[in-house]
Subunit: 186 residues, 2 copies
DNA sequence: TGCTCATGAGCCACATCTGTCTCATTGATG
DNA sequence: CATCAATGAGACAGATGTGGCTCATGAGCA
């Protein structure tokens, strides 16, 4: 990972931010559109990201870092599983548009799987399930696929409603947490 | 709507079927790929559907027809709302790949909204919610957005797991119905 | 058998997006 | 003030997808 300073760091950040915005509005946004959104020339984008794939890859890396930090803050391996799920979703709710884009899975790119987590991160979340079965706090009829699928589906819904913007973030978050809890609790 | 007979009807159907398959595998499948999947020349597709938009539009129309039929069979306005939801999802489970594509919302097309229902159909489903609140069978804290969102999110999950193909359709369907019921019941 | 129509294959023009390059400008730094 | 790195604008070639067109072929029907 190359680090930038001063002017270049600002340009780099502007491109990343604009890419997130532009791709949220249109998953097929072109390099030109992203450049315009960033207020830079198209050539400049290619200076920082040789190809479109490099830009997308950088976004994925960033999202993985943020997800990783969220998982750490959620301390998934502590306490009753049901509460761990609530902490996890609470952290997800604090993540931004980037995670929403990747969770929606609409980006046309081979390397981007449907879920914006790497294998290790997914395993960390999945590990909560058996603990929840053992401590009796999670629905015993829930298997791993549905468990993960439900968490991501509700999170995607949350981001959609947040974007629609008819309710406050706080209200949407608490409703989101309530829905997830109802779906996964024993 | 133009009707075809004999050879042309068969070609038309082959194109529709192939488009569904191809777009399920890759939402950005080109006309050429769809033609190859249908076993016809690319020029032939343009004879039936002047442009790509016309083909997509035809798929949307077909999906709306099927959804309409499913809604009729589900008799949404009969009996307790909770049971109506179960009948509705049971019918959704019988729909095919086409509905799964549209529900996933990955098709890059302006005219295709996120939900594969027209306004009337969406209103029909939404109308179940207040009845469920009145008869006490549906979660009273559930608002319309979450109600619709949950039904579609679980249906999308169902189609995903069906496509993944690790379980029988019957098992996946009953699990799907159970999950939806848990999410929406009072 | 002979005819007709739908088709497949090929070609073309056009549009869009990508990636590379050059060059003049600008603004920060010394 | 002088220098230099970063930038914006633009031109360019290549790739890809679309839509229109022609024409020979072949399957189905009279």
């Amino acid at each position: 990972m190359v680090e930038y300073t001063g002017q270049q760091a600002r340009t780099h950040a502007a491109i990343i931010d604009a890419a997130i915005e532009a791709l949220a509005a249109d998953p097929n946004a072109t390099m030109g559109e992203i450049a315009a959104a960033a207020g830079v020339g198209r050539a400049t984008i290619h200076r920082y990201f040789p190809g479109r794939a490099d830009l997308l890859s950088a976004l994925v890396d960033l999202a993985l870092q943020r997800a990783s930090a969220a998982h750490e803050r959620a301390r998934l391996d502590v306490g009753p599983a049901r509460e761990a799920v609530q902490r996890l979703c609470g952290e997800y709710a604090e993540l931004g548009t980037l995670q929403a884009i990747l969770m929606a899975g609409t980006l046309p790119d081979d390397e981007i799987a449907k879920h914006p987590l790497n294998d290790q991160q997914q395993a960390d979340v999945a590990a909560v399930l058996p603990r929840g079965h053992a401590d009796g706090s999670i629905d015993p009829t829930l298997d791993e696929d549905w468990f993960l699928g439900i968490i991501w589906a509700y999170t995607t819904l949350f981001f959609e409603y947040l974007t629609a913007g008819t309710t406050s973030k706080h209200a949407a978050t608490s409703e989101y947490l309530r829905r997830v809890d109802k779906a996964v609790r024993a």
